[in-house]
């Protein structure tokens, strides 16, 4: 991903947005949500979680899956972390292993942290500044997926990216054991830096941890829980960290279950049945659409639905036929009925049609709908007549189109629907399902000549550039590579330049920057329409009868360690 220079903006607009530009360094701009008050009578018991497959490596500095990021909340800490509350404030960054938010000097290029004392890892050793330095170096040593995009703006970072084994970050991260301070120097200011330290990649691990992806070997952490066992085929177990004492309930609260187990291997249908029978507490996987009716009627009180800042969209390859013709892209935007797509996902309560790139509630979101059956900023429906006319005018009618989707039921259904629509407006379309493990890199590689696909994008943290810059700037289009997240291959130099301006503006005038992002979003879709934005999904969490205290974070979703089993 490209370097993001957007200042972290809190989600509420108006007065708070003004304050945020001054207070970001102190991290208390938005009203702090009430931290969880611990009720010890509910402590204890074993929490049974179900997931159909393992999530890959257990190493928090390598793993990039939501499945394990949700578990790392409770087991690892960084210098800062996202606030462990529910509601809007869960986007706040608060000090964690650092005593307070860092002092930012040198025009945003130097961050000074002071480390808390007396915190121990789950192996009994105390956390020292040496561990902090080692953890920063380790990000590069284990070839973290974002080492070259997020963390290479630390001084010494680029050298670490090319030669990870000998990474020292000299001049970039300096620690002082007597004063317990850590000074981080950046090459240029980056106000997403704290967000990037708050995600699990920024976890502080013991300095003795080898500089290689640890795979299924658990690494000791400072959190309330620690991984005790991991078998990628059968499951994992987390137990209470015996050395954990709460130092900040907002950063790392006390957890309730004595043991957390996540077992793998059941089919999703079977998992849902287990939760219904109170044999397990929660299912990680998306609920099968044919169980939604049963669950939302018979078990309605156990179902929680929360909006996500995420997109389902269909990127079109703007460099090959037929979608290299803007009229063809606009035609498809008119032709697809987003309400139908939402129905395939599970109905209007689970998804909201969208015409924009940024999701609602996101900094910079500007409601508009360029391709609509009637002129309105909310989506009203498709306009097939206009679509057919545009196809004719484009001269691409009759072209063969292949829709590449993943093999799971919902994506396949959406793919079949898009195929049907393409056929109805004058193309000869086929659906090409691929296994989920292949599809994501397959659609990025231009060698595969993918014309249109269906994909999803979930935020890393709430910053408009995380959507617009990452997914649609020239810098993120790498032809002939498996890693070219600008899937549509869209490269508009003037738009990319505007994005740079907006990013720079974030540092000084957040409100104006947001307005710019909003207009960039609108301009991209209105003029070039490289995507068909489909809908913004909501997340369903189905918990069992015997599970209580469901709490939701907008950043990491359900708080696993706050569930009651007693």
């Amino acid at each position: 991903m490209a370097k993001q220079l957007v200042q972290k903006v809190f989600v509420t607009f108006g007065a708070l947005a003004l304050m945020s530009s001054m207070l970001v360094a102190m991290g208390t701009a938005a009203p702090a949500g009430a931290a969880f008050t611990y009720q010890s009578k509910h402590a204890g018991g074993t929490l049974h979680l179900l997931a159909s497959t393992a999530g890959g490596t257990l190493d928090p500095q390598v793993n990039y899956t939501l499945q394990y990021w949700q578990l790392y909340q409770a087991s690892y800490d960084g210098l800062v972390s996202f606030e462990k509350v529910s509601g809007q404030s869960s986007f706040n960054v608060v000090p964690d292993l650092a005593v307070a938010m860092p002092k930012v000097t040198n025009a945003g290029k130097t961050y000074t942290f002071k480390l808390r004392t007396g915190i121990k890892f789950s192996n009994g050793k105390t956390v020292t500044v040496k561990d902090v330095l080692a953890s920063f170096q380790r990000i590069f040593k284990v070839s973290n997926p974002n080492a070259g995009t997020w963390y290479n703006d630390i001084v010494g970072g680029p050298a670490c990216v090319t030669k990870p084994a000998t990474c020292t970050l000299k001049g970039g991260v300096t620690v002082n054991a007597t004063t317990n301070t850590i000074v981080v120097n950046l090459i240029k200011s980056d106000s997403e830096f704290l967000d990037q330290l708050a995600v699990p990649f920024g976890s502080i691990l013991p300095a003795s941890t080898p500089g290689k992806d640890q795979g299924d070997v658990p690494i000791p952490g400072t959190g309330a829980y620690t991984f005790s066992k991991y078998n990628p085929t059968t499951g994992l177990t987390m137990k209470r960290n015996p050395y954990f004492k709460v130092w900040s309930a907002a950063a790392q609260p006390q957890g309730y279950p004595a043991t957390i187990e996540e077992t793998f291997g059941e089919t999703v249908e079977s998992e849902v049945t287990s939760v219904e029978n109170n044999q397990a507490n929660w299912v990680f996987d998306p609920l099968p659409t044919d169980r939604l009716q049963q669950i939302s009627t018979k078990y309605a009180s156990q179902l929680h639905v929360n909006p996500l800042t995420a997109d389902w969209y269909a990127p079109m390859n703007v460099n090959i036929a037929p979608f290299n013709n803007v009229k063809a892209r606009q035609a498809l935007n008119y032709a697809i009925n987003k309400n139908d797509v939402v129905n395939l996902y599970g109905g209007t309560k689970l998804g909201q049609p969208t015409c924009t790139i940024l999701p609602p509630g996101f900094p910079g979101y500007l409601p508009y709908c360029a391709y609509n059956s009637k002129s309105s900023s909310t989506y009203a429906g498709p306009d097939l007549a206009k679509a057919k006319a545009l196809v004719k005018a484009s001269g691409t009618a009759g072209d063969k189109v292949g829709v590449v989707v993943t093999n799971d039921p919902v994506n396949l259904a959406v793919g079949q629907y898009i195929q049907s629509v393409l056929n109805s407006i004058g193309y000869k379309a086929t659906v090409k399902p691929l296994s989920a493990n292949i599809q994501f890199t397959y659609i990025q590689n231009t060698k595969n000549k993918v014309q249109i696909s269906v994909s999803q994008w979930y935020q890393d943290y709430p910053a408009a550039s995380d959507f617009l810059n990452v997914l649609l700037s020239c810098a993120n289009f790498h032809p002939a590579s498996d890693n070219s997240i600008n899937i549509s291959g869209y490269c508009n130099k003037s738009i990319s330049a505007k994005m740079q301006t907006a990013e720079a503006l974030e540092l000084t005038n957040a409100k104006k920057a947001n307005a710019m992002w909003g207009s960039i979003d609108k301009e991209i879709m209105t003029t070039d329409a490289p995507w068909v934005p489909l809908f913004n999904p909501k997340l369903t969490d189905f918990v069992s009868k015997g599970t209580g205290n469901y709490q939701f974070s907008k950043q990491f979703y359900m708080y696993v360690d706050q569930l009651w089993v007693k």
């Binding site: 249908e269 099968p288 659409t289 044919d290 169980r291 939604l292 009716q293 049963q294 669950i295 939302s296 009627t297 018979k298 309605a300 179902l303 639905v305 009925n337 139908d340 129905n343 395939l344 599970g346 109905g347 209007t348 309560k349 689970l350 292949g402 590449v404 093999n407 039921p409 396949l412 259904a413 793919g415 079949q416 629907y417 195929q419 049907s420 629509v421 056929n423 109805s424 086929t430 659906v431 090409k432 399902p433 691929l434 296994s435 292949i438 397959y442 595969n448 000549k449 369903t540």
Partner: protein
């Protein structure tokens, strides 16, 4: 046990045992076998069932356009149908409780529209069932024929000739049977998606039915071939074969006249089983994108679609399953009838 009889020469001996002679002499064995077959009520009924199914499937376009007036291959998420006086949505959003989920309409039991209900794309399941039958019957049948013929040949040669030929063919069976067919299918699906492949002079598209037919036929060759081989190995030691060898008959003649007729009943037993297996394997391959591509239908793909509707619309998965059962069952009964009618031993027994 057969007898080395010169069955091809005309003879006044009444071999049919039916005591029927016509003006032109005794009835030919083929004729009398057919007559015996006709007398087998179950076999006739089974034949009727198969003819009915095949005809119904061939008439699928007539049903879809003429009777139901719909396109079973286009997504119909917004569609409505008239049931009596009411207009009903094909996909209905759930309104009770938290109101999550959208359920396709269930069976209407009206022949003219959505008889068995809709699938998750809002398409008519019954119409797709008819269209799907054509594809499934075609794939199932052709691959079963290829499989049984190749397996019979290989089993015959392997069991009869023994030695190096048996060793080679047996190793071939081992390799094919142990081969990871799903890996091949996944790989092929990606290759076909990207570039397509050329086999000899044919350019294969992902939707080509040629590919699943060959793959399925090949996969089951050992399953039919090894039992045949075992049988032939056992037969080879029988007196009548030994006698034929002693009499100086050529290998080809022995294979054709002595071994094959005794192995034929077993092959006939396997054939309907293979048709059923092949239709099911086709569903697995279609899931991996080899063979029937959406929106085309086969009984296998409809079963796949139906698996995601199991808890709300079980008929979508059951109906094609029932069709496979009926087809395999009818073929089975018909096969038994054939075997009973054409088996020389059975005729002789019948004469006592």
């Amino acid at each position: 046990m057969g007898e080395v009889v010169a069955t091809e020469e005309h003879s006044t001996i009444d071999l049919t045992g039916n005591g029927v002679t016509t003006a032109r002499g005794p009835e030919s064995p083929w004729r009398s076998s057919l007559r015996q077959l006709r007398r087998n009520k179950a076999a006739v009924a089974a034949f009727g069932v198969i003819v009915f199914i095949v005809t119904a499937c061939l008439l699928a376009p007539v049903y879809a356009h003429g009777i139901a007036h719909e396109n079973p291959f286009a997504s119909n998420l917004n569609g409505t149908i008239r049931l009596g006086h009411k207009t009903v949505n094909v996909l209905q959003a759930n309104t009770q409780g938290l109101g999550l989920g959208v359920t396709p309409i269930g069976p209407t039991w009206h022949f003219s529209t959505y008889f068995l209900g809709a699938d998750s794309q809002g398409r008519d399941v019954f119409a797709r069932l008819l269209y799907g039958g054509r594809t499934s019957l075609y794939i199932g049948f052709v691959s079963a024929v290829i499989c049984c013929v190749v397996a019979a040949l290989l089993g015959l040669f392997s069991g009869y000739f023994g030695g190096a030929i048996d060793w080679l063919i047996s190793r071939l069976f081992d390799i094919v049977w142990a081969f990871p067919i799903y890996l091949l299918a996944i790989s092929l699906s990606v290759v076909l998606l990207t570039s397509g492949i050329n086999v000899l002079f044919i350019h294969l598209q992902p939707g080509s039915l040629f590919l699943p037919i060959l793959i399925i036929a090949a996969v089951f060759v050992p399953y039919v071939g090894r039992p045949i081989r075992g049988l032939v190995m056992s037969l080879k030691q029988r007196e009548f074969i030994q006698a034929a060898i002693g009499a100086g008959a050529s290998d080809w003649r022995i294979l054709r006249k002595e071994v094959l007729p005794n192995v034929m009943p077993s092959i006939i037993v396997f054939f309907p089983l293979m048709v059923a297996f092949n239709m099911l394997t086709e569903s697995a391959l279609s899931f991996l994108s080899i063979g029937v591509q959406p929106p085309a239908a086969s009984w296998g793909t409809i079963i796949n679609d139906g698996l995601n509707l199991l808890y709300t619309r079980p008929w979508v998965a059951m109906a094609p399953g029932i069709m496979i059962v009926i087809t395999a069952g009818a073929l089975n009964v018909l096969g038994d009838g054939f075997r009973d009618a054409f088996d020389p031993k059975a005729k002789l027994r019948g004469s006592i």
